[in-house]
Amino acid sequence: MALYRIVSLIAFLICFASLAYHFLRLIRFGVPKDYSVKKGNTAAAIAYSYTGGMNPLKKESAYLHYPTYTAGILYHTGTFVSLVLFFLFLLNTGFSSSVQWALVCVLAVSAASGLGIFIKRTALNKLRYLSNPDDYVSNLLVTLFQLFTLIVLIDGAFAPYYYISASVLFLYLPLGKLKHSIYFFAARYHLGFFYGWRGIWPAGNEERTR
């Protein structure tokens, strides 16, 4: 196995171990203990938090910002596809031409979305004000990873650059905002628990109010 592939695998293992540390710390700190009298169904509300509560029609962050929301969904889809491809590449998995070009198209759209989000962050006063270097670095590293995945699908000669970009991403991931890949799920859990305990969620209790 080429050295750059070994390095990327080690980087991934470091990333995985770091995220596992964050995950285990969350588990160790535990779930809320609430002494008030429960009014709703927390299990149903937590399930709703990951499903219906994510419905774009239910969140202003989605329905008031459809272009950004759509770009975000595409961008995250591209990230998941790239991660799966990373392992398939390590296993030397081959693709038919049609699958290969379908993946290239998906990644082209997702990387363009990532770039669009980056441009938006640099162009809008509001977002520049909110942003810190980590926001830009994270966005760029993920977008580059997607782009190199796309390129290496087309031409294997770029494999060293691809694995270097993957390694950098994996090593950086636990340091900054990208660790929301773990904390996002915890946040949805807590939101579901809170709204569920008080009988606000799930959807049966939530009137469509717009």
Binding site: H22, R25, L26, I27, F29, G30, V31, P32, K33, D34, Y35, S36, V37, K39, G40, S49, G53, K59, E60, S61, A62, L64, H65, T68, Y69, G72, L124, N125, K126, L127, Y129, L130, S131, N132, P133, D134, D135, V137, L175, G176, K177, K179, H180, Y183, F184, A186, A187, R188, Y189, H190, L191, F194, R198, G199, I200, N205, E206, E207, T209, R210
Partner: protein, 430 residues
Amino acid sequence: MNNFEEKKNKALKVLSEHEDSKLLTHLNSCVHCGLCAESCMYYLTSNDERYIPAKKVDLVASIYQRYCTFTGKYFPFLGKARELDEAAAEEMTDLLYGACTLCGRCTKHCSIGVDIGFVIKKGRQMLTEMGYTPASLQSTVNAAINSGNNMSIPESELRDTLTWLEEDLRDEVNDPDASIPLNVPNADILYTLNPREPKFFPLSISAMAKIFYAAKESWSLSTQMYDVTNYAYFTSSKSEAVTIAERLYNETVNLNAKRCVLAECGHGSRAFRWEAPNYLQKQFPFETITSVELMAEYISKGRIKLDKSINKEVVTLHDPCNLVREGGVIEPQRYVLKNAASEFVEMTPHGIDNFCCGGGGGQLAMSEYNERRMKTAEIKAEQIRKTGAKVVVTPCHNCVDQLMQIDNKFKLGVQVKTLAEIVADAIILD
């Protein structure tokens, strides 16, 4: 160690104390997408980037990063991890106290699910530990701690008010035995008040007394502890919140009431029903419900009869954030209004998407932020205007105050009433 260092250490301790994984989660989850901006009335009415909810989260999270994370300690520039110095504390005070009503609207609409209100309350707790609580808000807490109610109403004044309200009640229901019972043990209900009621809005006490009379309820008020509010919830001072909550708990236990019924007060009902058991770390041996739910119960069980044709004017409803979005009382007030008013129209948006009136989070008590508070009220004024209603009902005395100021400032020409008042007007006595 200098004075500020001592304060700083107390504040940082707030960030290192974890009851569960909630604090850790919400301090690490925000991705600075900025999509919460349009859910915040402060941002919507000013376009000021400082008011974006994510910025308020960042004020707390950046300090957490600086002192509690590897990246923040060794690469602080990456996440703009920030020292907790006097400038940071002053900025936090201005934005976490002066530019947030803790309405929770941003949380509900956050793309990730960050409990923004929870993080802001942690920030307020840090500021309280450092002695940065706005003096006006702290004085309200002090009044409650020192006198037993947040308006420092002497017991004699309360008794006088209740005596003439009782006389009025007897006249109104034409029954010389009608009463406002005080300190009666073993009643089914211990009813609470917002001190604004005896001080400024006694008719809402009359209204609830009439409802209890019509329902033939076994109830009592306490002259020792009747204050439903807990302003220490807003300052996030746990010791003071515990003191205030414990008094109402003890009084309910001492009088051996089966139910503690919380007056129409958004934060008061949240603070006692949902937060107090956690402040006191115990389950309560009595039931705690809001008067809103109680009125709905009376109507549904036929214990009171209403003639909604008496309330002829178009009525709209303002949903108090702490009662509805944060408290789960969503439908009972609608059920009551549909039975008590001829024509009820909803605001847009309403329910758990409703906008705060602007008076929440302790804003009404913090006169230093009055101008900002009334600027945010533009949204509520427009919501009300669009309904065409002549009466705005809200089950919260804090909201009543703010809505009356909105009516005055924006010349809406509406009456503002509590739910009990509109129900009492529609009651048909046997």
